[in-house]
């Protein structure tokens, strides 16, 4: 019996080789940071090598596995891998790679620990995206959270500490709320494994309202991660004061992980998610968009816009379990380019104008017309205007709810509400190109040697435009993984 279990555990570990590799690599990086001198250039080098090799290893390893369509449970239900977890691992690792490139290009002098912490986030998220088990999810989420608190406070300035403390307090509160909800679910079902059949059956006899309430508590932890209302209040301060590459990474990777867990909860189908998600989506969109209207700090603005975008992804989570969440996955994949591109732009504009204030961008686009056009395209993508990728992602999300099985009024209300929000959002997104292109300039100190940075920003833009004309490249990618 015990032998049987042991051998099961050993075989199951065979499925986790890439993560084991990543963990070993992490220890190696930690060793470098701790014991080797001049770690500054060596750590990022090994860090990016580790991420690249992990990306390739995980891709080839998991696509070679030929997993069954509905996934495979490992370690007695603690872990659960399916093909979509690979897709998210790729996205998250990719965003970490962009972080390394971003930090390198703008010559951020991070201590070696920051790189270690970023890869720890990747590790935590890699575990998070392959679990159906509340305990493992909680552990992975805490790993990501605690590392993020440190990352946010890594710059030793007063504002950073304030943001870090806010982040910490909100984060631990929502974790506690989530734990509270999980404990109730455990009490009802005697199981942490929400993907299992007995979990669902045990909940069938419970009062619907109670389950809804508990569900909201459990979702709290993830809503915090995806920065959806009403767990969004940490966003503006953290986004404003954290150094740009870090927040660029944090604005994407933990969100992606959180969304995948939410979609797994929805797939498990143990409760009625419909009304809760509609309320959360509506609330997130309106809170994010209305608050963003008044912002003048570009990064703060992006923070609020992130809240609104989370609302849009949540719309994609509705009734789309039958089409495998294609809309939201597509949105998340395109959001990677859009948000990280926007933060890259923010840093570039900081180099030009020495400020994050939108009004300080006056005339930058006239001096450098390609910078102006790039900013315009990027902002149009965030609004969702054609011809940018953002248009397709909105189209995909909303096409998911166009033929609802019931409650057509709700869904169409949501549809129109969501799209009207997109119309509102044009006001604040266009502020950036407006000041850059329309407002007259005054003398800006042009830092030399930024041509290459413009070029890299151009790569973001070209990808965003290219994927508008050939959006099927993304769906083929998702499909090739989740076949």
């Amino acid at each position: 019996m015990i032998n049987q279990r042991l051998s099961n555990i050993l075989t199951d570990f065979g499925y986790l080789l890439p993560e084991v590799y990543l963990a070993l690599g992490l220890f190696f990086i930690l060793f470098l940071v701790a014991f080797v001198n001049k770690t500054k250039s060596i750590v990022p080098f090994f860090g990016i090598m580790l991420l690249l090799s992990y990306l390739f290893y995980a891709t080839s390893f998991y696509s070679g596995l030929r997993l069954p369509q509905d996934g495979k449970s490992l370690l007695g239900g603690m872990l659960f891998i399916d093909n979509i977890s690979l897709f998210f691992k790729q996205l998250i690792t990719f965003s970490a790679i962009i972080f390394f490139i971003h930090a390198r290009l703008f010559r951020y002098q991070y201590a070696g620990e920051v790189f270690f912490l970023i890869i720890s986030v990747v590790f935590g998220l890699s575990i998070l995206v392959m679990s159906n088990h509340f305990l493992i999810i909680y552990l992975a989420l805490e790993m990501v959270s605690i590392v993020s608190y440190v990352l946010v406070a890594s710059k030793k300035e007063k504002l950073n500490f304030e943001a870090g403390i806010k982040y910490l307090i909100f984060g631990s509160t929502s974790s506690a709320i989530m734990l509270f909800g999980i404990s109730f679910f455990y009490g009802m079902t005697f199981s942490f494994n929400f993907g299992s059949e007995e979990f669902r059956i045990a909940l069938e006899n419970q009062s619907g309202l109670a389950v809804q309430g508990l569900l909201f508590l459990v979702l709290g932890g993830f809503l915090f991660k995806i920065a959806a209302a009403p767990f969004h209040s940490w966003v503006p301060d953290v986004y404003e004061s954290t150094s740009t590459p870090i927040i660029s990474f944090l604005s994407f990777a933990p969100k992606a992980g959180g969304f995948l867990v939410i979609s797994r909860l929805i797939t498990a189908n143990f409760a009625d998610f419909e009304s809760l998600i509609i309320v959360l989506a509506v609330f997130s969109m309106i809170v994010g968009n209305l608050a963003a209207l008044a912002q003048t700090d570009f990064k703060r603005l992006l923070g609020y816009s992130g809240i609104a975008h989370s609302g849009f992804v949540l719309v994609g989570m509705l009734i789309s379990s039958h089409n495998h969440f294609y809309g939201s996955y597509f949105y998340i994949a395109s959001y990677l380019l859009m948000t990280m591109g926007a933060f890259f732009l923010a840093d570039l504009l900081q180099v030009y104008s020495g400020s994050q204030n939108v009004e300080e961008f006056k005339g930058l686009g006239q001096k450098n017309i390609f910078l102006g056009i790039n900013a315009l395209i990027l902002m149009a993508a965030l609004v969702g205007l054609p011809p940018t990728l953002g248009f397709h992602s909105k189209l995909m999300v909303f096409s998911g709810i166009i033929n609802p099985p019931s409650h057509a009024g709700w869904y169409y209300g949501l549809l129109i509400f969501g799209l009207l929000n997109a119309a509102i959002s044009i006001y604040y997104y266009l502020k950036v190109p407006y000041f850059m292109l329309i407002k007259g300039s005054y003398s800006n100190k042009i830092t030399s040697n930024v041509f290459f940075l413009n070029f890299v920003l151009g790569l973001f833009i070209i990808t965003i435009l290219y994927l508008f004309f050939f959006p099927d490249d993304i769906t083929v990618w998702i499909k090739s993984i989740s076949k």
């Binding site: 909303f398 033929n403 169409y412 129109i416 119309a423 044009i426 329309i438 050939f470 769906t475």
Partner: protein, 523 residues
Amino acid sequence: MQSGLISTLILLPIFASVLILVLPDSYKASYKWISLLTLIFMFINLGTLIKGFDIKVPNYQFLEHFEWIRLSLGNTAILSIDYIVGVDGLSLSMIVLTIFVFFIANISSFGIEKKEKAYFSLFLLLLASVIGCFVAVDFFLFFIFFEFMLLPMYFLIGIWGGPNKQYASLKFIIYTLVGSVMILVVMIALSMSNTDQFFTNEYKKLVYSFDFRLLSDAGNLLSNSILSIDKPATIFGLDARGFMFFLLFIGFGIKLPMVPFHTWLPDAHVEAPTPISVVLAGILLKIGGYGMIRIGYGFFPDEFQKFAILIGAVGLVSILYGGLNALAQKDLKKLIAYSSVSHMGFVLVGIAALNKEGFNGAVFQMFSHGILASMLFLVAGVIYERTKNREISNFQGLANKMPIFTVAVAIAFFGSLGLPSLSGFIGEFFTLFAAFQSGPIPKIIPIMGVLGIVISAVYLLWTFQKMFFGEFRTLPDFENKLPDLNQREFLMLGILAVLTILLGVFPNLLFDYLNPTINYILR
């Protein structure tokens, strides 16, 4: 046969726009000529198109069809988006108008003296997207061009506009974006309810199509979809198809503009530079009417039947309210902007009549308004460019100083108020005539509509009398600033005046092209 004629019409301005963008600043003076040359090439292209166009064929001609996007939605469905362009009588007449109006606007843009590079490349991008809008035979393609128009227009008003440009451009873009959002909802709903049966069998998956020709065929409707005719879903107490109708009606109505969604128009017009006002009134408003006929009536004919009274009533309110507002304006450009609202109301009345005369009249009215509104805004521009002032009460007896100008203004004003033998008369006459004959709308609408003509006569003649007759008197600063038309202005106003007389005398020039298509749409 794929001739590529129509794609050339879209691509030429895009290429020219990129060319202007990459040319160094030392070629500044040539930008306007590049732009003009592009339009002349497009005229040649258009000539070939008209020559090869078969009047008797009601359906799309010169079709070009390429597969573009096959977007997988889950494992069971595919969104099929194609690049399909073609023209029928309706779109051909609109393209002719587009190219004429842009040609005039281009000549008028010769006066632009700020950031010429950006101006002309945006101008040409706008041209490309307007043309694309009229020739698209795929809803997705149409929508992309429709939405893409916003950005060039936003910058054209926002950079080159008057003192309050920031407010006006933002108001413009938010209003139109709200409208296009509603159209987007309909677009997604329509395509997700219609399948391309051929490809559905081919791929063994549901293939949703955006092709106009498939969408207008009720046979392609999915029986379990939200828009199915037999058992449509209920949305906010309306059946789904009626709901979609309202979305389209408001969406295109904002663009048209109809009361009460017209308030962006006066602001945008007053702030926009003259050539952009010309384009805005001459062409952009027509996309609203075009969309209402092509997409609104094309896909929801029963709902149009059902709500014809509403459309007619809104049209009537636009005619009267726009006219009364124009009566109260002191600013010449604002007066013209409100007269646009009033005149576009006739388009709605014509559409509401839902018969052959009505649709023909509506399209004719759009065409004629395109010419006349362009003329009117040029007239306002002539005065504004000389004096930087547009207050009607500041000018008197201009006829003594500017006789040729006065003739042009007379043609524009009399055309607008519907003098027979000028094009405005035909449009207004046909729409009202059709409304009298029409089954679905009550007689009171055309009867009150006639009142609209009277109101427009009042404000136009009043303005004409105040500004041009009597002794020459103006503010002391302006006295020496008011020479008669220069050659450029004479050319622009002359072309438009000839066009309006030509169409007024020979309306069949347009009706011959329209009739078969309108019959086909109304079948």
